[in-house]
Amino acid sequence: MNWLIAILQTILFVALSPLLAGWVKCCKCWLQNRKAPSIFQPYRDLLKLTYKQPVVSEQASWLFIKAPYVIFSATVLAATVVPLIAVDLPTSASADVIVMVGFFAFARFFLALAGLDIGTAFGGMGSSREMTISSLAEPAMLMAIFTLTMTASTTNLSLAIAHVLNEGLILRPSFVFALSALILVAVAETGRIPVDNPSTHLELTMIHEAMILEYSGRHLALIEWASQLKLMLYGVLIANIFFPWGIAQSFNPQDLAYGLMAIMAKLAVLAIVLAISETLVAKMRLFRVQEYLSFAYLLGLLGMLSHIILEASR
């Protein structure tokens, strides 16, 4: 039963992620006085891409062709670990939160390699920038997450979220720091403004798009889907770690339905916040990103230290 729920939840994760991307796009359009595309547009795009014939450079090696599958699978595996509508997942036990960060690293490793494979300047540029940003973002993210795991004294995400849930509403200074750090990291890692802009192909600024410039057809679909999934994953992490209320603690259908509604509402709110911040903030220069991410790193570390100094019971 547990395993069934876990698998269903993963499928739900994968299925809902384009919807979230569509919703963010809609919100942005409304805020910027543009006519919004349908909220289901990302699904149509993905479907269209899977029916297109992929064109691959003659330079491409096997790694370029296999990389999208690896990236997609690694991101899906990361999604299995994160509780979406219910806690107490067996998958959170088989791979804990450090492994989840490892899956992100896995996907990124192959994405960066795929960017280098064709041997164009754009690909290398994207890989170099992506690895730079992620090597600063990944530790910041780990610090933010360690604050949670040390509070709950477990690295199992299900148990940690259940712990936060059972503690009730307590204002912890460490969580405030960790939340801010995780939000900053999420923006950087999912390639949103002000770190990267998913909707431009301007060579001076692009990061994620530069790496996948050579992809087309189903390969592009997989990578796009994986990045939508990643956006949703970060959203769910923020929503369920810091505001876990509403998530199902037992597997009866009513709780599960309630959990689904709760997470969709939380994600919708988060998406609106993202859309507002993307509308208000301008993209920053590449070499300002380090300051931004060092700030996130510092916040994460402060969260951990304030947990240890202020909160830990001895």
Binding site: Y51, Q59, D117, L142
Partner: protein, 700 residues
């Protein structure tokens, strides 16, 4: 029985060294063979020039490989039986025979040495084919390889300080000759000299460390040294000396400078052994000295190890990132990994001294597992570097590219090495990193406020190190194997033909993957080591069944790599199957889009220095960067730019900060001392007279 296995490993490696000497005796053998007038044609044909050398090489490596196999067997048997075997050899000084002790700790390191040596001996015959000419005599290479391996094995067996130092010196000196093997270049001789100098200074520190212990004890045997109850100050002095000595060999910042000099110049299979195994022997020495001989550890030592380890880990990977030379890069990355091991060992010490032996066992497990994993993947990467060098005659990453199409098998093996060292899930490097994080997360149990805030900072640096390592090895793999080839050497490269070379690296790659999926196999063995050494092993390590890894308790942290692998396969297969079912969407190959300008050249690709440029800007204080652009100007008013040269040099801070002052100090002292050396016999007679008078005055 166990000892026989261990001894045979030593003797076989020694014998392989001696057998290599036969290489130079071909004519003598031929002569002797004709005199004895046997008419066995098969034997005679063996003495032909080519057959003979390849035969000897194969035999030498076969003996070495057997020695490795025996070492593995010996290590496994002592670990499984969890026994301690002691023995005395009537060698050495008359009143101090060589004491031998083979326990779980030695057994575990025997396992590391054994696996690495077996892989190298599979790889060796193919690699050394080019070393048959008189300038690079195989006899020398084989002899010192054998001595080097037997020295390492003897260090692990030694049970008295005297024997330990003899074995240690055998290891150091033999490896000096291996580093100096290609001595025709002045740079190589310099590297070898630096290596020898630092090895000897380190050895002196270790002797002094033993001296501190021995001066309070009955004798030089480790048993006697274990009985010593040192005061905290003396114990700390002994610890610092041992840390200096063993740390120099292990390559801790700031005494790491010999590594990036020595590793690139040695033949690749030797650098694999040096980096993968010899550093681990130094680690063994430190563990033996601190946890076994000194007995009671202090938490301050743990803090020292933690800080040094953090600096080494971060410094190592940042320096590695800037190196264009592949083997130099790998050497710096060894500094990083040793740093990680020291960090976790420091955590183990802190927990041990604060009365949490089980958490100490967890840290110890993470440290030893990382040592084991590093031995596997660093060996693999060095062997891979050897294969690339063998085929392209090139070690500069900036001149490579596109090898994935030319050397497909090598590229897969190297990719596995890169993924393991970048600690990606499903590979072995991840497991030890995961355990290191789990150890650091247990900081809540400590009472000391400074430690409680220091350890999270160290964990943060560990996270940064891991992420930087991934970036570094993306660069390595991307620049070497992907993109278009950047030099004609790489255009002409072909796949390795020698099966042994592929098998040796394949063995290591397979083990990297195997222990990434089933880390429990090796963790159970390490648990026995910590049980014997620390008196504590991990609680319920099999609480959830053998598929799971739950080092503290099932509720705190768990990881099940086989399930993860299954999940990955399912997700990958479903997406693959779903997308491939439409026959209209077969892949079409086309030219790379060049923005309509025509002709993408290899020079347009990102190079190694371009890839790391953002890191250079972000962490620019870490290196001494000399970056400039020279322009060749022409024309009457120097108005035409004929060519632009980009020049980049990245140097290590430790040279100007530490070594150059020492060098200057030594030179100044030498000049001052030199003043009394007048070269005049009357002055020397005067010195003797003055000394005599002084002695007489002192005695009376």
């Amino acid at each position: 029985m166990i000892l026989i296995l261990a001894y045979s490993a030593v003797i076989l490696s020694f014998a392989s060294g001696l057998l290599a000497l036969v290489m130079n005796q071909r004519l003598f053998l031929l002569d002797w063979f004709e005199k004895s007038s046997a008419d066995n044609e098969r034997l005679a044909s063996c003495l032909g020039e080519k057959q003979f050398s390849s035969l000897v090489q194969k035999a030498v490596f076969m003996l070495l490989g057997l020695s490795g196999v025996f070492a593995v067997l010996a290590g496994l048997s002592v670990l499984i039986s969890q026994g301690v075997v002691t023995d005395q050899l009537s060698l050495g000084l008359p009143w101090l025979p060589w004491h031998v002790r083979f326990d779980c700790l030695s057994g575990f390191f025997f396992l590391i040495v054994g696996i690495a040596v077996s892989a190298v001996s599979l790889y060796g015959p193919g690699y050394v084919k080019s070393y048959t000419d008189s300038q690079h005599p195989f006899a020398v290479l084989g002899l010192f390889t054998g001595l080097f391996v037997s020295g390492m094995l003897l260090v692990l067996l030694a049970d008295d300080a005297f024997f330990f130092m003899i074995a240690w010196e055998l290891m150091s000196v033999a490896s000096y000759f291996l580093v100096a093997f290609q001595h025709e270049h002045a740079a190589n001789r310099r590297a070898a000299f630096i290596y020898l100098l630092m090895a000897e200074v380190g050895a002196l520190a270790i002797i002094l460390g033993f001296g501190v212990l021995a001066s309070f004890s009955e004798g030089f045997t480790f048993d006697a040294l274990r009985q010593v109850q040192l005061s905290a100050n003396w114990a700390s002095i002994a610890f610092v000396l041992a840390l200096l000595g063993f740390g120099m060999k292990a390559g801790i910042v700031p005494v790491h400078v010999w590594l990036p000099e020595a590793h690139p110049v040695a033949p690749s299979h030797i650098s694999a052994l040096m980096s993968g195994v010899m550093l681990k022997v130094a680690l063994y020495g430190l563990i033996r000295f601190c946890f076994d001989l000194l007995g009671e550890v202090h938490w301050q030592w743990g803090v020292v190890l933690l800080i040094l380890g953090t600096i080494s880990a971060l410094g190592g990977i940042l320096y590695a990132m800037m190196q264009p030379n592949l083997k130099r890069l790998l050497a710096y990355s060894s500094v990083e990994n040793i740093g990680i091991i020291f960090m976790v060992l420091g955590l183990a010490m802190i927990f041990m001294a604060n009365g949490h032996p089980q958490l100490a066992a967890l840290g110890f497990l993470a440290a030893l597992l990382h040592a084991f994993n590093h031995a596997l993947f660093k060996n693999l990467l060095f062997l891979g570097a050897g294969m690339i060098h063998h085929q392209t005659h090139q070690l500069n990453i900036d001149l490579m590219g596109g090898l994935i199409r030319k050397m497909p098998k090598t590229s897969v093996l190297f990719l596995i090495g890169c993924m393991s060292i970048s600690s990606l899930p499903l590979f072995n490097g991840f497991v030890s990193e995961w355990l290191a994080f789990q150890t650091a997360l247990q900081v809540d149990v400590l009472d000391n406020g400074v430690l409680r805030s220091l350890i999270p900072v160290a964990a943060a640096s560990l996270a940064l190190t891991a992420a930087l390592a991934a970036a570094c090895f993306v660069k390595v793999f991307g620049m070497i194997f992907l993109g278009q080839s950047r030099s004609h050497h790489c255009d002409n490269a072909r796949e390795i033909q020698d099966k042994g070379m592929l098998a040796g690296s394949g063995l290591l790659a397979g083990l990297c993957f195997l222990f990434g999926i089933f880390p429990g196999l090796i963790i159970n063995l390490i648990n026995k080591v910590s049980g014997q050494l620390l008196g504590a092993s991990l609680p319920n390590d099999a609480a959830l069944g053998w598929l799971w890894l739950a080092p503290v308790s099932a509720n705190q942290a768990s990881y099940a790599p086989p399930l993860v692998l299954t999940g990955a396969l399912i997700a990958g297969c479903i997406s693959f199957w779903y997308l491939r079912r439409n026959p209209a969407t077969v892949i079409r190959h086309a030219e790379t889009w060049d923005c309509g300008f025509g002709g993408l050249t290899p020079k347009m690709q990102y190079s190694c220095s371009a890839f790391t440029m953002p890191f250079r800007r972000i962490f620019n204080k870490v290196w001494i960067i000399d970056e400039r652009i020279d322009k060749d100007l022409r024309g009457a008013m120097n108005q035409d730019v004929a060519a632009v040269h980009y020049h980049l040099e990245v140097n290590d801070h430790s040279w100007p900060l530490l070594y150059e002052p020492i060098e200057r100090g030594v030179n100044t002292t030498a000049t001052i001392v030199g003043r009394i050396q007048t070269g005049n016999i009357r002055t020397y007679l005067g010195y003797s007279f003055a000394t005599l008078i002084l002695m007489l005055w002192v005695i009376s």
